[in-house]
Symmetry: C2
Subunit: 124 residues, 2 copies
DNA sequence: ACTGGTGTATTATACCACTAATACACGAGA
DNA sequence: TCTCGTGTATTAGTGGTATAATACACCAGT
């Protein structure tokens, strides 16, 4: 059963997006693999103190994104093939880095300075 | 008169935030300095094809953040002291990098890999 | 069979951020 | 004085998000 006990919800992004993003991270970290079962809608809702419909929205989104399957009322499961995994990996790594690079260039931050700042801020 | 002709509005972030962010970038790039006049609310609204109130909200935000002043109906002007400048610089550099570092760590991206990705994505 | 938990769907409501529409008072300039 | 553009304030509309209350069909376990 996939563990949601260490998810931390902020109050900035939509909850259902955060749930999806959390599961993607778990997949990337190999903490979630094909076959792993997700909690039931109502169960996760109770755990996170949110409405079951919000969980349903998250699960539906993850189904559409292709890494969660649900059959009948037998619960929902993680399901990732190589293609989906690559997509997730790309979004969470290259995608994120690319956005950052774009922001850095917008303010004319030179490459060297970027490396400096990351090095400086990495450990703290 | 501060130039907004090369601002590019996305449809993800609130417009008034984007305007404020754009002005901050201009300040950081020394393209906007104390005394520079901003277009009137209606003028900028017309230029960007948005509602004057959205511009008003942006200007008000920038006043509150401390780098824009307005007296009566004599227009709005850039006004930055060292303190404000440092704040903007920090937000747009260290602040941005810190957020990125946080995201990278969330998915266990090692420092080395981060540098690799940035190097790879810097030129394209 | 009955019960309880499941996924799913529908409808309604509330809330908030954002944007839009409008009106108002002020002051410079012709 | 009249006009026009200014900043400002108020109100209304819109869309997305979250919640709530149900309802339904399905299946497993008792």
């Amino acid at each position: 059963m996939l563990d949601f006990s260490d998810i931390h919800l902020n109050n900035k992004d939509p909850v259902y997006i955060q749930i999806s993003h959390y599961v993607k991270r778990q997949i990337l970290l190999k903490k979630a693999v094909s076959g792993d079962e997700l909690p039931s809608r109502r169960e996760l809702a109770a755990l996170l103190n949110i409405n079951p419909n919000t969980v349903q929205k998250a699960y539906k989104l993850m189904e559409q994104e292709g890494f969660v399957i649900t059959h009948g009322n037998q619960g929902s499961f993680i399901w990732v093939n190589d293609c989906i995994y690559s997509k997730i990996e790309d979004e969470l790594t290259r995608g994120m880095v690319a956005e950052f690079v774009k922001s850095a260039k917008e303010i004319n931050l030179p490459f060297k300075r970027v490396i400096e700042l990351i090095t400086e801020l990495w450990d703290e």
